[in-house]
Symmetry: C2
Subunit: 424 residues, 2 copies
Amino acid sequence: MGSYKELWEKLNLDLDAHESLLEVLGKFYGDIYLTQQGRLRGIEYLDFVISEIHGLRIKELQEAKNNGRKVIGTFCIFVPEELVLAAQAIQVGLCAGAETGRELAEQVLPRNTCALIKSFVGFKLSRLCPFIESCDLIVGETTCDGKKKAYEIFEQYVPLFVMEVPQMKRDADRELWKSEIYRFKSVLEDLTGSWITAESLAKGIKTVNRRRRVLQRLNELRKAVPAPISGRDALLVHQISFYDDPERFTNKISILCDELEKRISAKEGVVPEGTPRILLSGCPMAIPNWKLPYVIESSGAVVVVEESCVGTRNISHLVEENGKSVDDMIDNIVDRYMKIDCACFTPNRERLNNVVSLAKAYKVDGVIHYSLTFCQLYETEAFKIGRALEKEGIPFLSISTDYSMEDVEQLKNRVEAFVEMIRG
Amino acid sequence: MGSYKELWEKLNLDLDAHESLLEVLGKFYGDIYLTQQGRLRGIEYLDFVISEIHGLRIKELQEAKNNGRKVIGTFCIFVPEELVLAAQAIQVGLCAGAETGRELAEQVLPRNTCALIKSFVGFKLSRLCPFIESCDLIVGETTCDGKKKAYEIFEQYVPLFVMEVPQMKRDADRELWKSEIYRFKSVLEDLTGSWITAESLAKGIKTVNRRRRVLQRLNELRKAVPAPISGRDALLVHQISFYDDPERFTNKISILCDELEKRISAKEGVVPEGTPRILLSGCPMAIPNWKLPYVIESSGAVVVVEESCVGTRNISHLVEENGKSVDDMIDNIVDRYMKIDCACFTPNRERLNNVVSLAKAYKVDGVIHYSLTFCQLYETEAFKIGRALEKEGIPFLSISTDYSMEDVEQLKNRVEAFVEMIRG
């Protein structure tokens, strides 16, 4: 990727450290992804996107910026991309899945902060993320204490706008969230100089829905036995959905799904029938946080669905497409986002029901719950998930971890024992 | 306190463990409080209240319950006691300041949960708190992730109502909070069978304001040099304000303040002039969490003000008393509570300004920030507080700790070094 050096220099990246990062990432990807057997042809798209993760896509973003478009970075599925697209801007989910810059982050954040938050602050402070550096605006939200307060530190380094996500789902909460959507709309219009019109918003809604539908289709196909795609590859599809161009992404994954259908018709799988099927539930896994899926799939099991923001939580609901005016459409957007079963809500019984339903629909043999250490929301809900699954007789394992590789052996032991147990 | 055995038995306390708890608490209080020199006569009230902490006050609550009054427990200064009193109920702040029941709490909560939360769950699960057992309703709130999610567990063991505290301070937040106050009003009226009237609410507002005023008066007197009262005793006054009868409390502290005024007129202090004066800022200190004030005051300094929920944050603002109708009064209540500078809000610049102002007004020589370990809100704000004080040239020490005694020696070393440094 030497040809991007000028681009990275312009973005003021720490070039030497960045080169090392890409090397490590490449090796990590090779070990975890390229060693897999029986991958689909359509997966080439994923490999290509990852190999160009800080290259081609950044170049595209810079070209778009040169043509007057704005780039909006996010860390959360509550930020309504429909509006961003309607304002002719581009939304990218910022990764925050590596331990990069942890020492720098810990100089401004408590040590008891989750790895994801330390990661985005660390990436910024160490000048290693060309996505962050490409953003005209980063949109935060109040989904957890850690992020809410970290943004107050982060805003000293990046242009930041924080949306308030309510904590319950009553009428007053819906009103609050609606007022936040309108506030975001104004901010976007001011930033881009583009008015959000009924036409542009309808288009934005359709584009995002199409991407959700293709991911729903992918997940639907994963219900097949034997599993037609590895959990790692499927997770990667979900991860890439956050930052590749939505139209291109939808087309590529559509082709991948065609291929999957053929494989399923031929009763072929990526693993033998009888391989224990796992639902992975909990915190989002940002690129390159592939540690736990790798551990699970190296232990003789296969992940068939991710109940997470990088998974079902991001795609479960569509925005109704029947709105005529901007206000109607915003009402539909408000309704859709208020259905998200994030652990930031109290109570959040939907999530318990959803996990049980997913476990049944995907015919899983066990559920592994993953919390980022210090994520009080998901760490606490893990207890309730465990109880709900126990009632259904579904095996359950709860894991808290971060991005370091120090606990890989210990995780392997725990996961192998779990897989052994459910294999019976 | 043998005469209360029947009472505790009726409340289904674990009698043996409870006896041990009271013994430990008595000894702890003796060591930390009764060894102090130059205490005021009016302090006898505090000693008495503490010696009867699980006795006389519980008996009073039970008698009130027998007369048809309801008891409402809380953990947060956002729960508007004005409404509780107006509904003829009694509000008690539940302590949660001891390590009691930690092992049991950790069976249902993540280990990475702060000591305060583990404490209230632990007290319940180990059947050691007669206040919790006396409550007809416990009111939670969404001020932090830890409590928000812990309440979902706690509600399996106690009658619970959770209020949503918003996370910003815009119009939509005020509306949300207002709707929560009305929801709380309905719940109280249903529970007590008493309508909240303009008359009863006006009385409730006056009662709580009077208690705030006497605590404001106490704090005002603590600006005197030399410090007329120890930080430990003053903290205890604030702590007791949460659970003693408000009228009695106000009268007793008023007498204490008269005595303080005389001492100040005589230029007498509880410590010599020149003793380093400390502002203690951060998380609330619930009974019997006296560890850090004790460490500070054993290190040759004196705490002259607590910037905390058990301190200035609880008393800084009065509810306007000009409301005529219930709706007017509720508007005034909403306004008052929305002024609280809790770290749950983002941004929360008021707190930075308030800490700096307090440091100047109380002529402090240094600020010690106290966070409960795993309290992401206050642990993160500590960084900003430190920077704000640095700009003003005010020495600052940040401490994260819990309720265990294991780190006392380490804390002593850090605090002694800090006191040595500011003494210059």
